[in-house]
Symmetry: C2
Subunit: 385 residues, 2 copies
């Protein structure tokens, strides 16, 4: 079975990733804990400082945050910063609750959705039974499972990168699914999530909706029905606030209390006063949000058409990125060529997807730059022109 | 031996705190992990919304942050917030390195010193050997030890709340000391820290200098000599930025790399763009920093004299708070009476210190309000007047 790791003995955890990390010969320090020694940390997309790039590698929003958000943050930059923020983030949670049509007690907010995912892994998953997630998905899940010494089980996606709900009909200690999935961009029908929830009433089903606002179908409306459904979202992408670090979780009150218990055992105040003010303004400015996300979706569809015309295979995307491969040129070669031409995209050297590129949807101008660069490559442009 | 917990079997960790927490009958949720069930989270000082208080309960700075800090943050509230922050916090770390006279590679920054402490517990401590810290100290240490399933060993302070370095001459898996200590305010001479470092070259010695800028002696100058010395500081107190969530660690590069490995396995971007800008400005404005901390120290000494005149026992403080007890009135009674009079202080119902109050040093006016309220109490005012 692919990727099942069962660590029932008490040796320090060394998974296949960790082993490969050790083998790379990273310098170890004698004072590190077993966890620090054996973890293979997540590698975020590069944030280069050397030159100006068309930056399509970290799924950032190509448009700035709402002017109302910037104004709210400037207003919040005052003398009250000497005081701790509200550890319960009450007002922010109220505004999120309104936007999501849930109760305030069903909302948790934190320093980016990554932090919330980490807290959720700690709050709801135990060693012993496998934590299920797709073999191709956000690679941080494997890092969390590794760090918290859980037993991850990677469930293969179908050939077309879609999820087969029936594959999750097995014993487990929890399920994690990104919807739309990353880095593929494929969305999951609400009925499929419901089917998994029905199969697994005893385990937390975590749906990571980081990219839901670009055409996906959120399962937040199911929260009242399933006390084990945990939904995580972020303001980094659709609200253009990657630089502010804000995410939230929505779910049953019991799950929110579990997240709070872990948060309050690590850092009572994870969201600062200015981020809180910005987040409130961002969730309130529905019009700006609709406008930006619509523009990005329109650009995505135009870009997908342009890429297909050049002979690319383009995975259907409900996210703010496209997952593409070209029959005439290996992904890694394309990645390097684009980088030389000042265009950054993301390449993952992993089984099944090592011929693909993940390309963030930028402005129309950014994407025209990308298409033009590709057209200029003889083995690509020749194909489709 | 006081407080030694050895969990060498594989049962979920249930320490004495956790048990008492379970006994309080907190509602448990069926989806919680063993960690979420058994942890007893830290309780921060209250942030009341019901009325206006003289707020002397969370060791916040009574003065606002430097005007240059507020201006830098307003400038940073721009369109670049759509982009992730620098995950390495390079510029902020450079400025901190300059202020601390160390190398940039010897600095780590994070979302408040609590987060950094949590990362340090994960990065450097393992189960099996006891983690040593004083029986009276920042109560978050015990929470971290509990959450990460370590084996804490509480080492009793001397009768006067000072630390006996010789008590740390025993087998251990790591040492954590707050200097000045909280909630006592007592500082530790540099020679005593050095003695512990000399006794324990094989273990990380973590010195939490959250309150060092109010008259204490930082051990940062020792970093070049001891590769196992980790110093943690915060911008919450002496830089008046509790609302911004910024802390930093200083130590050998190997230790910094350990912290980075854990951070990058939880959340690649813990410090947001605006906090980064504010932090840089705060570390640069040395003059404002000197002025504010001097004022607080002067107010502390005046207040201590006033309290002694009223018959209080006042622990010598090198922090921005005072730890006090009165022979004529129990701490808990005083705490409640002050609260009724609109003055919030901190009371810890814990062995050895349950007759004490921790009182943050506010403005001169705040402290005069406190002294006047105490003078008005017959069993206090009569004593010293």
């Amino acid at each position: 079975m692919i990727g099942i790791h069962l660590f029932l003995d008490r040796r320090p955890l060394v998974s296949h990733i960790a082993v490969s990390n050790l083998m790379k010969g990273n310098k170890m320090n004698r004072y590190w804990s077993a966890a620090a020694r054996h973890i293979a940390p997540y590698t975020p997309g590069e944030q280069p400082r050397d030159r100006k790039y068309i930056k399509l590698n970290t799924n950032e929003c190509p448009y700035p945050p709402s002017p109302k958000v910037l104004e709210a943050m400037r207003q919040a930059a005052d003398g009250t910063l000497r005081l701790y923020p509200d550890p319960e983030c009450l007002e922010l949670r109220q505004v999120i609750a309104e936007a999501c049509r849930v109760k305030t007690s069903q909302v948790f907010s934190g320093n980016g959705s990554d932090e919330i995912l980490a807290f959720a892994f700690m709050a709801f998953f135990d060693r012993g039974e496998p934590i299920l997630f797709p073999d191709i998905t956000y690679s941080f899940y494997e890092v969390y499972a590794d760090l918290f010494r859980l037993d991850p089980c990677l469930v293969p996606l179908r050939e077309d990168f879609s999820i087969e709900p029936g594959d999750y009909n097995r014993q487990n200690g929890g399920i994690v699914l990104a919807n739309p999935n990353a880095p593929t961009g494929r969305g999951m029908p609400l009925a499929d999530v419901r089917r998994i929830l029905d199969l697994q009433p005893e385990r937390v089903v975590l749906i990571d909706e980081a990219y839901i606002d670009f055409g996906g179908e959120s399962v937040i409306p199911l929260i009242g029905e399933y006390p084990n459904l945990l939904v995580v979202q972020t303001l980094s992408k659709s609200r253009a606030l990657a630089g502010l670090r804000l995410g939230f979780a929505v779910g049953d009150e019991g799950l929110m209390e579990g997240l709070n218990r872990i948060k309050n055992a690590i850092n009572s105040y994870t969201v600062d006063r200015i981020a809180m003010a910005g987040g409130i303004a961002a969730m309130r400015d529905e019009a700006y949000f609709r406008q930006t996300t619509s523009r990005i979706m329109a650009t995505r569809e135009r870009t997908a058409a342009g890429l297909k015309a050049l002979g690319f295979a383009v995975v259907p995307s409900q996210a703010n990125f496209l997952f593409i491969a070209h029959p005439g040129c290996p992904g890694e070669v394309l990645f390097k060529r684009l980088r030389e031409r000042g265009i950054l995209v993301r390449y993952f050297k992993r089984p099944r997807i090592d011929n693909y590129l993940r390309v963030t949807v930028g402005t129309d101008e950014d994407m025209e730059g990308l298409l033009q660069a590709l057209r200029d490559m003889p083995d690509i442009g020749a194909d489709g022109a």
